[in-house]
């Protein structure tokens, strides 16, 4: 008897065609026949690390390596309709019980693939057919459960509705019905097999079990008198018992002699149904991970009260805003350390296109710029984004210019390097691009920097694209009606304390002296508050 090797098809292949499942036209990631080729990116994701998207994506797809999800998260969509298609599916899966059901389904499918992949390595024929039967049973249970849950779920998305219809057809097909009935009969028969082993020295005797008394419970009862609630359970960790060797095979063969009919029909079943996993079901299993992975990831932020929302999307860069957004990569670190995450807003209305961020150092300016980029990127993937409410642009590309370490052997010098990189960006950017510049021209005199920055900004203004510019040059914030001034702030009563709030107000360049630190809280009033009455 031969079994096909049924490892997941998507082992590691990120080519375009592989991204969408085409066999039945049923996909929960791509509407119509659209595949990865419609995505905007030409593989240039240099902004990925500047925006810390690499960290975010790595965290999102952690523990889901088997599904090879990275291509999905590396391909923002350019079509508002395609983004909406995903938002709808994602909203359906927001429902925790549905998400749990989908996760259970995936766990089960993973189990099916693991069993099937292992068959080749099993030598005992009754163990092999036993494993095969487990794979079939797991598969059947998973699909039946999933179908029932999907029937109950109030699905609003075209993506999931389509898959539900497909699944129902498949489950009522004769091929599935036969599989199901056969597996159930066999399970029942095998569960009735019971036998005794008498182990003495090197002999094992196998016979039918005939009601001999359980000695363990007798002993437990006798010693129960010493029981104390304060002592924890005594459990020994047994090493996993290698159960697929010749002794087990021999025992199993003898048990088969005790129950010959049961084992004969098991062999027949395995022959008949050797290739049973449906292709569309398998593809769904992978695609739905995109949603589960992302939603599971943002759960931990939501639990801490950090909001996520489904942004409205526009192709025209007007009236772009986000309320209470945050940098996910930073939030991830802060949450792990139990620290508070500060949220920030931005709003570009009317002719406004460019956010110029100034203010004290370590005040959250870079974080703000990263947040702006991350939120747009995630929105274009079709994902909910940090924030309470948002309206964002569908971009054709993101360009970032973050300060780089000076490289040995690069003789151009830092200033020149800055200019070369910015030139490259501006020659490729279009009116639908997003440009994020972080601390440009720090390696020259202020006068030079002002001059160069103005020149660059003028070009950006001409391109009419969306831009965030973090800078120490206050003048840039008042360059044109397209610029908006944002300032990182400190606590009014204690300038040493950063608030990490970036607010919309004129750049004032103020700095404050450090004031008194508060001490031990041992005044009369404070003590009265502190001691519990």
């Amino acid at each position: 008897m031969e079994f096909p090797s049924q490892a997941p098809r998507w082992a590691d292949n990120s080519s375009g065609e592989e991204l969408s499942s085409q066999m039945s036209g049923i996909s929960v990631l791509f509407h119509k026949d659209q595949g990865i080729t419609q995505a905007t990116q030409s593989g240039d994701l240099s902004y990925f690390s500047d925006l810390l998207l690499d960290q975010i994506v790595a965290a999102v797809i952690k523990n889901k390596e088997a599904y090879n999800l990275k291509p999905f998260f590396s391909a923002p969509l350019s079509d508002p309709e395609a983004i909406l298609f995903r938002q709808q599916v994602m909203k359906d899966i927001e429902d925790h019980s549905l998400r749990d059901h989908l996760s259970s389904f995936s766990t089960a499918m993973g189990e099916v693939h693991r069993c099937l992949a292992a068959l080749d390595r099993i030598h005992s024929r009754y163990h092999r057919s036993g494993w095969f039967l487990e794979a079939v049973t797991t598969y059947i249970d998973a699909l039946v459960h999933l179908a029932a849950r999907l029937m109950e779920a109030p699905l609003a998305s075209r993506g999931l509705q389509g898959f539900r219809a497909y699944l129902n057809d498949y489950l009522s097909s004769p091929i599935f019905q036969t599989l199901r009935a056969g597996a159930a009969d066999l399970k029942q028969a095998l569960s009735r097999v019971s036998y005794c082993l008498l182990v003495k020295d090197s002999a094992i005797k196998v016979s039918r079990y005939e009601g001999e008394e359980d000695y363990t419970s007798t002993v437990e009862k006798v010693f129960a008198r010493f029981k104390k609630d304060t002592v924890r359970e005594h459990k020994f960790k047994l090493l996993p018992r290698p159960s697929l060797n010749h002794v087990d095979a021999k025992i199993l063969d003898l048990v088969a002699c005790l129950y010959p009919e049961t084992f004969a029909s098991l062999e027949d079943f395995a022959k008949k149904h050797h290739s049973f996993v449906d292709d569309t079901v398998a593809a769904f299993d992978r695609e739905v991970q995109f949603y589960i992975a992302y939603l599971d990831y943002i759960d931990k932020f939501r639990q801490r009260g950090l909001p996520f929302c489904y942004p409205a999307l526009t192709k025209v860069p007007e009236d772009v805003f986000c309320q209470d957004g945050f940098d996910i990569a930073l939030a991830q670190r802060l949450c792990e350390g139990g620290q508070t995450v500060v949220v920030n807003d931005f709003h570009l209305s009317g002719p406004e296109r460019i956010l110029v961020v100034t203010g004290p150092n370590q005040g959250g300016k870079t974080t703000f710029a990263r947040m702006f980029g991350q939120i747009h990127y995630l929105a274009n993937l079709g994902c909910p984004v940090p924030g309470r409410v948002a309206r964002l642009v569908v971009f054709d590309n993101i360009f970032t210019h973050f300060e780089k370490e000076e490289e040995m052997g690069d003789l151009r010098g830092k200033l020149k390097d800055d200019l070369v990189r910015i030139h490259a960006i501006l020659s490729r950017a279009t009116g639908r691009s997003i440009v994020i510049m972080n601390e440009i021209f720090t390696s020259t005199t202020l006068a030079d920097a002002v001059f160069l920055a103005r020149k660059i900004m003028e070009r950006i203004i001409d391109l009419d694209l969306i831009c965030v510019c973090v800078t120490f040059i206050d003048e840039l914030s008042t360059l044109s009606e397209k610029t908006v001034s944002m300032v990182s702030t400190v606590r009014p009563d204690d300038p040493a304390v950063r608030t990490y709030k970036i607010v919309r107000r004129p750049s004032d360049g103020l700095s404050y002296a450090i004031t008194l630190a508060k001490r031990y809280g041992l005044t009369y009033e404070r003590l009265l508050e502190r001691i519990k009455p």
């Binding site: 009754y126 094992i204 008394e213 359980d214």
Partner: protein, 498 residues
């Protein structure tokens, strides 16, 4: 089976709920001297005494009286209690000598060492039971009565015989019979050891010859994998038995561990009692009162730690602090103020442990926390200044204080000028007593003491270390309003002899 000689409801856990500020308490009240006297060279008694003291703040008046009665039994029959302690110690040492504790992944060997261990434990249980059978009628406290009754009913002879029989059977000299089923993927699994029963002529042979179909195979002599697999199957089957026995052994061990800890405390009390009575010092059983009223009344209270380090008897103090919560102690340098303060803390702790106290009589309400804030010497490890350090300690304490706490200050907040120090002390103490905290404060800060005198009215009591007119000290602390001088010049003259 539970010991319950420290508490009506639960076993004493020497590691749980220790006061966070235990080290400060021990240092400030010189408690190690007391623990050493209790231990009399036994390290375990020392550490138990320490744990009992550092959990004393959690005891209710009921628990305190429960222990007092047990302690009275102990004082009447010291030998029996010491024997119980020795039995518990003996079992623990026997355990250390055996291979127990080296749990392997091989239940077969675990089972056999558990069987051996339990046989040894049974010897000790029988000895303990016999001790109870002989002496139970001499003990009257609720704690001991319950304890001996439990031994009689839980360790009856029939039961002990049955235990011994099972321990023999568990050596499985005739092989292991087990049932099994088919598990996941037809795995041979679900082993349950079955009783073979006694059949004349050897059940193994009889079983081989019975009628229902059976198949036997043998592992070849050189087949190591096969032998290991058989061993693993046997291990799986008897693992629950090994666990059950290990569990039983653990339970018995836990019982004796608790017995050792709880009797250690009483043996410690006996040791201390013998030391003090050899010196002719009086002790009494204190009267613990529940809150919320604040009380502190005693006659001839002395510091036991001090007397243990001196040859002569020391002078006790009297106090009648009915319904007072603030005690300001001022007066002569070297007049016995610190000793007085320590004796307050130590006796309060001893009472709350359930012990006798070093006084002729002693009545006080039970506090849920006993704190000390003593002025410390300069510490090179502390970077911050001295006042900073003091405020830091006070800050930590403030997080723990409740309205049922007792706090002893010894010359606190004087590491700055008098006016500032007094102001800090005034704010802190005013808030503390307003919240109901009981405060003893030894101080030289006259402005503070004077402010308290005008403010505290009925809640306060003012005590002063006595000084005769010739400058000599009586070492007695008596009621008296604060004076502007602490007679430091006396000491100066004493040293410089002018």
């Amino acid at each position: 089976m539970k010991v319950l000689l420290m508490d009506r409801e639960q076993d004493f856990d020497a590691g749980a709920g220790l006061a966070d500020h235990g080290e400060e308490l021990i240092q400030d009240l010189a408690l190690n001297t007391l623990f050493n006297a209790m231990a009399n060279g036994d390290d375990f008694i020392f550490s138990t005494a320490r744990s009992v003291f550092l959990t004393a703040h959690r005891n209710s008046p009921d628990t305190i009286v429960y222990r007092q009665n047990i302690l009275k039994d102990c004082l009447r029959h010291p030998t029996v209690v010491r024997q119980m302690y020795d039995l518990a110690v003996g079992l623990m040492e026997g355990r250390k000598r055996s291979y127990w504790g080296i749990f392997t992944s091989y239940p077969t060997s675990t089972l056999s060492s558990a069987v051996g261990m339990l046989e040894m434990y049974m010897d000790y249980m029988e000895k303990l039971k016999n001790l109870g059978d002989t002496h139970a009628r001499d003990f009257v406290s609720a704690g001991f009565t319950r304890f001996f009754t439990m031994l009689r009913s839980d360790l009856d002879d029939t039961y002990l015989v049955e235990l011994r029989r099972h321990l023999r059977e568990l050596r499985f000299e005739n092989g292991v019979l087990m049932s099994a089923i088919l598990g996941w993927g037809n795995e041979v699994t679900g082993f349950t050891v079955r009783k073979t029963g006694e059949i004349k002529g050897g059940w193994w042979r009889r079983w081989l010859n019975q009628q229902s179909p059976s198949y036997t195979f043998y592992i070849a002599e050189r087949d190591e994998t096969g032998a290991k697999t058989i061993g693993a199957i046997r291990d799986r089957a008897i693992n629950p038995l090994a666990e059950a026995l290990a569990q039983a052994a653990d339970h018995i061990l836990a019982f004796f561990t608790t017995l050792r800890t709880e009797t250690a405390f009483y043996v410690g009390c006996l040791n201390l009692y013998e030391r003090l009575s050899r010196k002719g010092e009086e002790v009494c059983m204190p009267v613990p009162l529940p809150g919320p009223a604040r009380t502190m009344r005693f006659l001839s209270l002395y510091d036991p730690c001090l007397t243990l380090t001196m040859n002569e008897k020391i002078i006790g103090n009297d106090l009648d602090g009915e319904d007072r919560r603030l005690f300001i102690i001022t007066g002569a340098n070297q007049g016995g103020k610190s000793t007085f303060l320590r004796s307050i803390g130590v006796s309060q702790l001893m009472m709350q442990c359930g012990m006798f106290v070093p006084a002729l009589s002693y009545t006080a309400d039970v506090c849920d926390g006993i704190y000390t804030h003593f002025r410390r010497g300069e510490d090179s490890t502390i970077k911050s200044g001295k006042l900073d350090e003091e405020l830091g300690r006070m800050n930590t304490m403030a997080d723990r204080l409740t309205s049922r706490s007792l706090i002893l200050f010894n010359e606190s907040f004087s590491a700055t000028n008098e006016r500032e120090g007094a102001e800090i002390a005034r704010q802190i103490v005013t808030a503390l007593i307003q919240r109901g905290v009981k405060v003893f404060f030894v101080t030289h800060l006259y402005p503070f003491a004077r402010d308290m005198l005008t403010m505290a009215d009925q809640k306060g009591l003012f005590l002063r270390a006595q000084r005769r007119d010739d400058g000599s000290r009586t070492f007695r602390i008596q009621e008296g309003d604060p004076l502007q001088t602490s007679f430091g010049q006396d000491v100066y003259y004493e040293i410089f002899g002018e």
